[in-house]
């Protein structure tokens, strides 16, 4: 109970610093919408074929940008800001107080998941308003919510694990982006991939969690079949991230 109280209090402070940091707040919130506008304007209008179904290009991008925003808020945001806090000595200082490390990390994860939820709502509302995109409702909404929560938690866990591979704060943007950007392209987040895409790309998409997460999210928007397998793969990556993080996570600046 005390741990919960400490965690929720920590969430409030995390939120305060998040919104006061212009870079983190702006990019986390502006990028998904910006990309949504760019991609829907840039690429040829028409339908995208997903699992034998034709979906409106705009709906396709609303779903994918929703997935992208979760990945940004959870994976990218956590990997970078926790690295910054580690290198600034804030994590080390926190370790010198009675606040349990678990409460600190839980607060970071909880906050990122709340931001992710907010972003998905904004992206879906934006898509509905300007592109008349279909948005999840009814029974699909529940399954969509499961994918969203599992995915957000898993990408937070991977973000925390990633901090242990970032040598210092200066390297954080480069290392974190290098780890996620190629994967976003290879997983069809920005440009659709399908049966005609090169085999290696389809393999990459099958192994890593981004594609599975995007498909699970899309099912809510498109009405395509929802595969529990996708949830399992994403969850497995999340558990993997947790194991790596538990072994390698550092509270002190790495030199």
């Amino acid at each position: 109970m005390k741990l919960l109280r400490l965690t929720l209090r920590q969430v409030r402070y995390t939120n305060k610093t998040f919104w006061r940091n212009p870079a983190s707040a702006f990019f986390t919130f502006a990028f998904p919408l910006m990309f949504l506008v760019i991609f829907t304007s840039l690429l040829p209008k028409g339908d995208v074929q997903i699992a034998g179904l034709f979906v409106k290009q705009s709906t396709y991008y609303v779903a994918n940008m929703a997935a992208f925003s979760v990945i940004t808020a959870c994976y990218t945001n956590i990997a970078m800001s926790v690295t910054f806090q580690r290198d600034a000595g804030i994590l080390k200082r926190t370790q010198g107080t009675p606040l349990p490390g678990s409460a600190y990390l839980a607060a970071r994860v909880l906050h990122a998941m709340l931001m992710a939820l907010l972003l998905v709502v904004i992206t879906a509302a934006f898509g509905r308003l300007f592109y008349n995109a279909d948005i999840p409702a009814g029974g699909t909404l529940l399954r969509f919510a499961v994918m969203l929560i599992v995915g957000a938690a898993a990408f937070c866990s991977l973000g925390l694990a990633m901090t242990s591979f970032v040598p210092n704060a200066e390297a954080a943007p480069a290392v974190v982006n290098a780890s996620i950007l190629p994967l976003l392209f290879l997983s069809g987040i920005f440009i659709p991939i399908g049966d005609t895409s090169p085999a290696w790309i389809r393999w990459v998409a099958r192994i890593f969690p981004v594609r599975h997460f995007a498909l699970g999210m899309s099912a809510g928007f498109f009405g395509t079949p929802f595969e529990w397998k996708d949830v399992l793969v994403v969850a497995a990556w999340g558990v993997g991230g947790l194991l790596v993080g538990a072994r390698r996570f550092s509270w002190e600046p790495r030199r």
């Binding site: 006061r20 600034a88 994590l91 010198g96 107080t97 009675p98 606040l99």
Partner: protein, 318 residues
């Protein structure tokens, strides 16, 4: 009252480097204790073991009755830590920062009181981002005080301060000591140790080389005093005093175990010959001299000899 800190045979290595090589230390409750030593001597390693950041390789350690290697939040609730480098979220205000940390402790001090104590009342609602380095360091101290700790660790708290900021920080530490807090301080400033500490240990190469009160450290009180003056042109050195050392610029330095008698003899000699003893001064070995003698190149067998002579050289150059 019980001792705040007790350590026996403390050891710690990083790879091949023996950072701490068998240290014994007792700090009584309410005492201000300073660890004095050059960079890399092992000060921070010792302090970070006691704070619970590092695991010791060998030896016993007890801090407020806890084993710092395994102690949890109950232990952290009773200590305050000022690390060597500051790390504060830049986007919170001074008061928000102190409030954030107060909330971690069972019996915090009122936020405004802490902010006032470190002299940041005017910056109460200023973001950390906009504080100067010295002000951020004071906020560091405020955070360490937020939980009203019994024991305070200050790792080089005034490094990089301007003289008036240092004075201010010293007054804060003095006032904490007056409240009965125990303070373990590391520093490489002699005057800081001298002004603040009840007791001082000098550490070099991972070992204590001397321990005592600032006034008596390493026989400082028993060491020779020096009388120094400029020998008048053409004058023969006075026959009354032994162990004289001529120095550049026509100075003469006289080591003495009896400053009163020797000074009397010298001034008598000067008056008899009608000399004025220009630039006359009486020098007691400073804590800095003692420190430099003690912390010469570590691992060097001839170190005491070498350091002693370089210490004397320094004195002569004055």
């Amino acid at each position: 009252m019980k001792n705040a800190i007790e350590i026996r045979g403390l050891r710690k290595s990083y790879g091949d480097v023996d950072a701490v090589r068998g240290v014994d230390l007792t700090v009584a409750a309410g005492e201000v204790f300073a660890l004095l030593g050059p960079n890399g001597a092992g000060k921070t390693t010792i302090v970070e073991i006691l704070e619970g950041y590092r695991k010791r390789d060998a030896g016993d350690a007890s801090v407020l009755g806890f084993d710092p290697g395994t102690a949890g939040p109950d232990f952290k609730a009773r200590i305050g830590i000022v690390l060597q480098s500051t790390g504060i979220d830049p986007y919170l205000t001074v008061a928000e920062t102190v409030a954030l940390y107060s909330g971690y402790y069972p019996h915090p001090r009122p936020v405004d009181e802490v902010v006032e104590l470190v002299g940041l009342a005017e910056k109460h609602d200023e973001r950390v981002l906009r504080l100067s380095g010295g002000q951020q360091r004071r906020l560091d101290v405020a955070i360490a005080l937020a939980g009203d700790p019994e024991l305070l660790f200050l790792d080089e708290p005034t490094t990089g301060f301007d003289p008036s900021a240092r004075r201010g920080a010293w007054e804060i530490v003095k006032s904490l000591a007056a409240l009965g807090k125990t303070v373990l301080l590391t520093t490489h400033y002699m005057d800081e140790a001298q002004y603040l500490a009840d007791r001082v240990a000098v550490i070099a190469g991972g070992k204590f080389v001397a321990e005592g009160s600032p006034a008596t450290l390493a026989g400082r009180d028993a060491e020779d005093t020096w009388i120094r003056f400029r020998l008048p042109a053409g004058a023969e050195p006075p026959p009354q005093v032994a162990s004289q050392q001529p120095e550049a610029g026509g100075y003469l330095a006289v080591a003495t175990e009896d400053p009163t008698g020797d000074l009397h003899a010298l001034t008598g000699w000067a008056l008899d010959h009608g000399y004025r003893l220009e630039a006359l001064e009486v020098l007691r070995p400073s804590l800095e001299d003692v420190y430099l003698e003690l912390t010469g190149a570590p691992g060097d067998d001839a170190r005491t000899e070498h350091a002693a002579s370089s210490g004397r050289q320094r004195r002569r150059r004055r």
